[in-house]
């Protein structure tokens, strides 16, 4: 795997949120290194009860260990803050459960490196006939519905609003470091990106079955999240001041 030469001159970091992934986190870190040895890896341990932090530190990743579970939004934003404060030019986000394949990062990075997008998202559904993804029925319907609503709102076809497989440039990092939604963040984040007039592009990727651990989202919770996320999106549309004041929470 050869790294895009444009990438070599940039300071780049992989943000890996992980919750109880001691069995898969090491493999993810190794694969990230195999893709690009110059990529700094930051694991955000979202209050794991197992040896996730230790496993990550043993493989040489930097570990941000949260004192308790913040939920995926808070965990990922910790990574974006780290990237912002340490002046990284490029960040990629790869989940710690192994469902994102780091060898496909070159595809996700391409639109950001060429300057055509501020944020690129790896989508499971961007290609017609993409069928490699298996998931519960409730969840699939949810993903479809959210994609439809979000596409309508942002005026651009978005197929996978729940994908955490992403690459961002400095603008994207700065936005998410400042403001990132809470428990089911990617959907709201997508809308937010457009409202801040950043450019978002989807790239087709294939995702793997989870390497270990369990999805944090069950069927009943999906419905709760769906209602919550739709509420957040619709209320968000009436915001003039799209960025909350620092310390306003």
């Amino acid at each position: 795997m050869s790294v895009d030469p444009r990438l070599r001159e940039l300071r780049r970091v992989a943000i890996v949120p992980a919750l109880n992934e001691e069995h898969s986190i090491g493999g993810v870190i190794d694969e990230l290194r195999a893709f690009d040895p110059g990529l700094d890896v930051v694991v955000v341990d979202d209050g794991s009860l197992d040896g996730t932090s230790r496993a990550a530190a043993e493989r040489g990743a930097r570990v941000l260990r949260l004192p308790f579970n913040l939920g995926i939004g808070g965990a990922v934003q910790t990574g974006f803050r780290f990237a912002f404060e340490n002046d990284y030019d490029i960040a990629v986000r790869v989940d710690g459960d192994g469902q994102h394949d780091p060898s496909q990062l070159d595809r996700v990075l391409a639109p950001v490196l060429s300057g055509e997008a501020d944020i690129a998202v790896g989508s499971r559904f961007a290609e017609i006939g993409a069928s490699g993804y298996h998931s519960s029925r409730t969840r699939r319907i949810g993903i479809r519905l959210l994609a439809w609503v979000v596409s309508r709102i942002v005026g651009q076809r978005v197929t996978d609003t729940t994908s955490g497989f992403q690459a961002l440039n400095r603008e994207g990092i700065a936005l998410f470091a400042r403001d990132y939604p809470h428990d089911y963040p990617e959907v709201e984040a997508t809308v937010m990106v457009f409202r801040h007039r950043l450019r978002l592009t989807e790239v087709p990727v294939e995702m793997r079955e989870r390497g270990g651990g369990r999805s944090s989202i069950t069927a009943l919770r999906s419905i709760y999240y769906m209602v919550k996320v739709l509420l957040a999106i619709f209320v968000g549309l009436f915001r003039r001041n799209v960025v909350p004041q620092e310390g306003s929470e």
Partner: protein
């Protein structure tokens, strides 16, 4: 039968509650997670106030014959209890997290005193 004035006042007040909650979310003063229960409260009370036949029917089921708006009070009270109980769980979680944070800071402080720089 419910007096018209009660229905109008109830519906207006509950609808205002919904609007206030939405405005609080919009201005980032209330998170969606804590707003949902309030919204459900407001919507249920609005519907029960405005839908007079429904209120009478429910009152009939509950054996309230003389004054159907009593059901409005009961439902409102039930939801307020639910919100309060929810807040108690939220406060409990926050205080647990606060303890953890204080402990983590104490540990970090000790570490940074031991090896300065």
């Amino acid at each position: 039968m419910t007096p018209i004035a009660v229905s109008v006042a109830g519906a207006v007040a509950s609808f205002v509650l919904v609007l206030v909650v939405l405005e609080l979310i919009r201005s980032h003063r209330l998170r969606e997670r804590y707003a949902l229960l309030w919204l459900v409260t407001g919507i249920v009370l609005t519907v029960l106030s405005a839908w007079r036949d429904g209120l009478n029917t429910i009152a009939g089921w509950l054996g309230v014959r003389s004054y159907p708006p009593a059901v409005l009070f009961a439902v409102g009270l039930l939801f307020i209890l639910a919100v309060l109980l929810h807040y108690s769980t939220v406060i409990s979680r926050l205080s647990d997290q606060n303890v953890l944070l204080a402990q983590r800071i104490a540990l970090l402080e000790e570490q940074s005193v031991r090896k300065p720089g």
